[in-house]
Symmetry: C2
Subunit: 409 residues, 2 copies
């Protein structure tokens, strides 16, 4: 038998199983209250609207086109609809500035592929979206810690990157209600990040997957919008915005998008052509159909439900969590991020929790590029109703209280 | 403005626009008879069956699952259906040996990513599928010429690869009715290729995109089938088989698959998880629905129509082409491959043809990893009816005859 490991590319050693994906399997166990998944509540999917969309496609004149190969850039009416949406959040652009991808996960993979040669450096927050680390890992980068508004100088970043054998290529972050922390980057931090990127002459990758899921507070313009305001046109900017329909309409169709300056989009189109030709034609049409007829209504529905669940989770945390545990207070998204007393281990806690408290969550360590953050964990409120949230957080808090007491004793 | 070229990864210099994709734009000009596209005839798509499939999904209990995230491996019932199909062509395997991809193009991208470090060598035929070269190019390999059954020794290949700074990782080929030549690799050649791969300890990537489109002649077992017959089980083989529903059911859903030993599939699953999470859930369900209810009937329909078009094209070539032009006689697929007298240029001929003969085809040079083959061209019979084929080949033959005479004069 072939010794496969001996002929795999060097990058394959960085492809490892995801803790989160393994945990998803727990969702099916009825005795477990799960805050582990980062997935939308299927009860909120616009089923009826999608049913109509597919039926209309098959009854209309475009059925042949829907089933056929199509252009790598993506379905033009969908890109045109996105032009309108982007304008609403301060991002004036043309259809030529947009590439449709197979979910925004694919955008992250392609951007890693476009920028990263082995030993280049990607700046990411500690913690960051685990899927971004997994996507970038295939291109064998180093990571350095991005602290929006922090005091590391461009020169310091550049020196570290040069020592590691490459250069800084981009800063990746989710500015709104990020996965895993739920936190939002302030406007001042966004502006400072543009300054820093200008000085270092690097790209910014802005992950907008949760951008439209704001429950309260004032919207902050996307980093790309702030940069366009400075530079006059998207084609002069260095910020690459990725977005998704997975959290608003449905993830199962695998439709996301990238918005950026034309030199970037042109290269990504060639990359997509070589990598999978194009995203599903019929699904792009279906997404366009549903989005054109009621995107805002659908987003309002999701916000309303998730907002109540966020409230329930924050209230339950306030009520039940012992001293020594802190957590974020997100203004949107799907996640709350807990920090346990130093010395406690999220992974060990999960192992106990599944047996005793019967509550699932994601230990935070996997979200840290440097393997730190052992005393953190992520809970999602998107798929649990308010009763489950109160019950699950109460049980989890009791377990944590017991652990803290055992440590003290 | 950022000097993008200066921060793109080194691999990006090998991402260039595809001649074929640019040519696809010509298909819409009504005065041109096009043999250029390598796409299926949309008139043969099983529209009604897909309409029913999507309607059934939305009326059934799985609508939530259809719109939700799903496992990276792919939809289990579809993988189980494929297990049955593979058994019919001599490839006994389990669902665990199958990964669903977003078209077989994605399988080629992932296999390049899995095996190729920069300067490794991929063996490909001269000519080969252009999309394979494009997919592999992102991983910066060298190419060497694969001649199934030819007399290059493993030692010679290995020496050339070592000089180029890497090692031979795999041999890629399409064994049945390949794109672009339409030719089939004989059983003896397939067996010789397994011998060679065993000796070199490399993988074989067998592109089965056209495998089921045989019109006449006896089917030859896939290379993977021949290797399983030798080694007893798929998990001991080195052949990785990629397949597609794009030529049989419809390309617009982007559903393909890889069949291989479990160590390969396990690694590809991790890669897919990091790169795009999974292929569209709803489309995998729709493909499964249509395949389970009438895959063979659909394939029979396509074979019957394409077979008549192949006959018409071979007849027209026989009738009209001048001496000095030769062509393949495929037993299936979509393509015939023409070789013009040495010194004639397919690209120059196309430029003239679009103006005078008003016939489109693909110049062959792009299919050669070494840039040779200037005097070759590919014509596809999949999307033209018999009248168009007779007329188009007649016009093309007249143009070629004129060119040959002009050269002699």
């Amino acid at each position: 038998m072939l010794d496969w490991e001996s002929i795999f590319a060097t990058r394959s050693s960085r492809m490892r199983a995801s803790e989160i994906r393994e945990l998803l399997k727990l969702l099916d166990r009825p005795d477990i209250i799960s805050f582990a998944g980062g997935i939308p509540d299927p009860a909120l999917f616009p089923d009826a609207e999608f049913k109509t969309a597919y039926a209309d496609i098959f009854s209309g004149p475009s059925v042949g086109a829907a089933l056929q190969y199509s252009v790598s850039e993506g379905y033009l009416p969908l890109r045109e609809w996105l032009v309108g949406e982007m304008a609403k959040i301060g991002i004036p652009c043309e259809a030529e500035n947009i590439l449709i991808t197979s979910g925004s996960q694919q955008a992250l993979d392609y951007l890693g592929k476009l920028f990263l040669s082995p030993n280049d450096t990607a700046l990411v927050t500690w913690p960051t979206y685990l899927g971004a680390l997994q996507a970038f890992n295939a291109y064998e980068p180093n990571y350095d810690q991005l602290t929006p508004g922090g005091n590391r100088t461009p020169a310091a970043y550049q020196e570290t990157a040069a020592k590691a054998g490459g250069r800084v290529k981009f800063a990746y972050l989710s500015a709104d209600f990020s996965n895993p922390t739920g936190e939002t980057v302030t406007r001042t931090q966004r502006e400072a990040l543009i300054d820093m990127a200008d000085e270092m002459d690097i790209a910014i990758i802005e992950d907008g997957a949760y951008q439209s899921l704001r429950f309260n507070g004032d919207a902050i313009p996307p980093i790309l919008a702030l940069e366009i305001a400075r530079k006059g046109t998207i084609n002069e900017t260095r910020t690459i915005y990725s977005g998704s329909f997975s959290k608003t309409l449905a993830p199962g169709l695998r439709v996301g998008f990238v918005v950026a300056a034309m030199p970037v989009i042109r290269k990504l189109v060639l990359m997509k052509q070589a990598a999978d030709l194009h995203s599903s034609t019929i699904n792009q049409m279906a997404i366009c159909h549903v989005a054109e007829r009621g995107f805002d209504r659908q987003v309002d529905k999701i916000r309303s439900v998730y907002s109540q669940r966020r409230d329930a989770m924050l209230k339950a945390l306030e009520t039940h969590m012992p001293d020594g545990v802190s957590w974020t207070r997100p203004e949107g998204g799907m996640f709350v991020w807990l920090t346990l007393p130093v010395g406690m281990e999220g992974a060990a806690l999960l192992a106990k929790s599944l047996v005793t408290a019967k509550v699932a969550f994601v230990p935070g360590k996997a979200f840290f590029a440097d393997g730190s953050g052992a005393n953190t964990l992520r809970v999602s409120f998107s798929c649990a109703n308010e009763t489950m949230i109160e019950e699950g957080i109460s049980r989890l808090a009791n377990l944590i209280r017991g652990e803290i007491l055992a440590k003290v004793a």
